[in-house]
């Protein structure tokens, strides 16, 4: 049997746990990754701090950066629930000692924050490094990340206000994370080797064991919960979310979609251009609402040119410190259309 047909055969059996795909070399496919390429992309930081870049940052340095780049979404103290769930809050001095956030067990927690959940400080460093700030991911330098993290640790009362976090002392801070002992992997939902064989979990044993009774399974049907009245009508007109032929109809729970006004072409353009992720028509999200923009610029004769340049090139300072990222993907003509629409009272 040729090597190739043997390979195809083994592919046919792939899916069986025992499959070992026979394979030698895909000639001409792929090339070695250069050290610089690996360095550019390999940015992950593990709980054992493998991958952690060298650097340091103080609470006060972090506060300045946080105020400038993070606070508009997360609030000055990382407490905001406006855009995302809060970062800090809900942890106590006692939790720092025990490594268990007690409120998770007692239920005395209106909402879980990042610091009530996360067990590993590496997770926060890794995430800020790869994904923050929201509109400009991967733009922060290691020292800035250390500073932001130091500030968050200070807000969580884990470190004092004169603390400097660095690659040298981050392992010590790990030992103070309020929920560091709050994770368990004793479950059956890990699809790899179990803990007993150096992996994770109990080897796939389900925790809930139901039985399949077929006849006279119970004497009464206990209803635990019904759809609240407000929820029946909270998702628009369900009549419009089902076909108007076939075995059933959708229940009429509101105004028909056909009667609702269609989005303007400009709003569609703004949506596909990504503008609406940060701006509301009548409300601030990350950037100002279009109603605010109109109010400020409507009487300025050069506003159309200036603002359409700003759409494409980005800017900072006019609406606080959070920057407007460059949007080079928006064509010049489209940027002008959008700005004219905003200045004439976007709808």
């Amino acid at each position: 049997m040729s090597r190739f047909s043997r390979f195809i055969l083994s592919l046919a059996f792939a899916g069986a746990a025992t499959s070992a795909v026979a394979f030698e070399n895909f000639k001409g496919i792929g090339r070695p990754a250069t050290p610089a390429e690996i360095k550019a992309w390999d940015i992950d930081v593990r709980p054992d701090f493998k991958g952690l870049p060298k650097g340091s940052g103080s609470v006060s340095q972090g506060e300045v950066i946080f105020e400038e780049k993070c606070a508009s979404c997360h609030g000055t103290f990382g407490e905001s629930n406006e855009v995302f769930t809060p970062l800090v809050g809900g942890t106590t001095k006692d939790d720092i000692k025990t490594g268990h956030v007690r409120a998770l067990a007692t239920g005395d927690l209106p909402q879980r924050t990042t610091f009530t959940k996360v067990a590993t400080i590496s997770t926060i460093f890794d995430y800020i490094q790869r994904a923050m700030p929201w509109t400009a991911p991967k733009s922060l330098k290691p020292d800035e990340i250390y500073g932001i993290l130091a500030y968050l640790l200070n807000l969580s009362e884990i470190v004092p206000s004169d603390f400097v976090l660095s690659d040298k002392n981050i392992a010590d801070i790990q030992k103070m994370m309020p929920n560091r002992n709050g994770m368990t992997t004793n479950h059956g939902m890990w699809p790899g080797a179990p803990a007993s064989k150096g992996g994770i979990g109990n080897g796939g044993k389900p925790d809930v064991q139901a039985k399949a009774c077929m006849k006279n399974c119970k004497t009464e049907v206990r209803i635990g919960s019904i759809l609240p009245d407000y929820a029946r009508n909270a998702h628009g007109n369900l009549e419009d979310q089902n076909r108007n032929f076939g075995p059933v109809r959708g229940v009429k729970t509101g105004e028909s979609l056909a009667a609702a006004p269609k989005n303007s072409a400009e709003l569609e353009l703004a949506t596909i251009s990504g503008c609406m992720a940060c701006h509301g028509i009548n409300n601030k999200i990350v950037g100002p609402g279009y109603n605010e923009v109109q109010l400020r610029y409507k009487d300025q004769t050069d506003a159309e040119d200036r603002l359409s340049r700003k759409v494409r090139e980005g800017g900072q300072g006019a609406w606080g410190s959070i920057p407007m990222p460059a949007n080079e993907h928006v064509k010049e003509a489209d940027a002008k259309t959008l700005v004219r629409w905003i200045l004439s009272g976007a709808k």
Binding site: A14, A16, A17, V21, F23, F26, I29, P32, A33, E37, I38, W41, D42, D44, V83, F84, L104, A105, D126, Y127, P137, M183, T184, H187, M189, W190, P191, G192, G199, I200, G204, P206, V208, A210, K211, M214, K215, C217, V221, G224, S225, I226, L227, A231, H235, G236, L238, E239, Q241, N242, R243, N244, F245, V248, G250, T253, G274, M276, A277, I285
Partner: protein, 448 residues
Amino acid sequence: MGNLLEQAGRLRPAPENFLSDEQVKAVASGRRDFLRKSFLAASAAMAAPLAARAADGDSNILSNPAWTTSLGQPVAARPYGTPSQFESQLLRRESPGLARVGGASVSFCPLQGLFGIITPSGLHFERHHQGWVDVDPSKHRFMVNGSDDSLIKRPKVYTLDELMRMPSVSRIHFIECGANSGVEWANVAVPTVQYTHGMVSCSEFTGVPLKLLLDDCGVDYKKARYVLAEGADGSSMTRTIPMEMVESGEVFVAYGQNGEMLRPENGYPLRLVVPGVQGVSWVKWLRRIEVGDKPYATKDEAVHYIDLMPDGQHRQYTSIHEAKSVITSPSGGQTLLDKGYYNISGIAWSGRGKIRQVDVSVDGGINWQTARLEGPIQNKALTRFNAAWVWDGKPAILQSRAIDETGYVQPSYGQLRAVRGSKSIYHNNAIQSWKVVESGEISNVQVL
């Protein structure tokens, strides 16, 4: 007389065709009195002399409609075909109040109107962590490296040109978000199956088994027992996947979906397929695989996608979806048109393999009948089930219960909560109940 009835029977259209648009709306709103009146009128018509009835036939039959009496459209009038103009209702939709930022939100698949097991690519549910991107395939690169040089002989870079030259597999698998049905852990919260279960979809994916690529790079499987998958979007989302799954040949790097390239919202031009495992691990816009000797505790396995238990501990690295099913028609937010025969239809799936059996109850779980499964039944794919039901016009509670090939039985809410409480958010696979009332309106309820 028998002959007369037979002829009348032939003339008699399906009940809904007795209804005007207004009457259909009235059905939808739950007023059914006129339905009986319509049937009375129909019966009267049947009793009338034949000559009079001929003129009374269905105008849709008696006068040919425009599409029967005119020339149709030419080929390629729409080079990329789109659904009929009459199919404007089934769209993916957001659930109000679930997330405040569209880039970190969810849109739900309209399961209430779909058939079979394949989700049309344009209706596939969406979950993005930092917005979706449309990656230029000619500039996309896929890298395999190691957390340590000793774990891999040849870290490599591949282009789409190269990946698409390699041997490919095509397999049908479901993908479900770990938080599907998450808002319903403690109580009923949303009205329809689109919002209770619409974060599941099923496609045929085509791509290259990851094992082949890791072999090509000379991975040391003795030491490298985990892989980290990373996306090329702004979030560069990461998840840890066990090497055992990669070695089994199940995990693949996909570029194809339902016969065409992946849609941008689903990771164009490359995503990971991790069958049976929650969607967050199927990293979209896949740019890198790192092989490692330890798990990574990434944001989406250390802050989110962790399951809070009643004792205050979070379960970490929960990945597999246990067996689950739901009746999609008839279902919440719908109204039955009248008493009589209905086909109860739904979907079942398990992250542990094939579906063995689905049972359906119409009395809230006191008695069950085994549904008919539509084959071929596939591994870690949606399975469509159907069961006959004659509605007698009385209140009913419809339920379905899946059993997978391991013998695992889908639990009730009571059974699930007894072990996991009601704050877990993730991996809610409880039996779904739809309550039918006399008006025909169906609503979401939870039976313990």
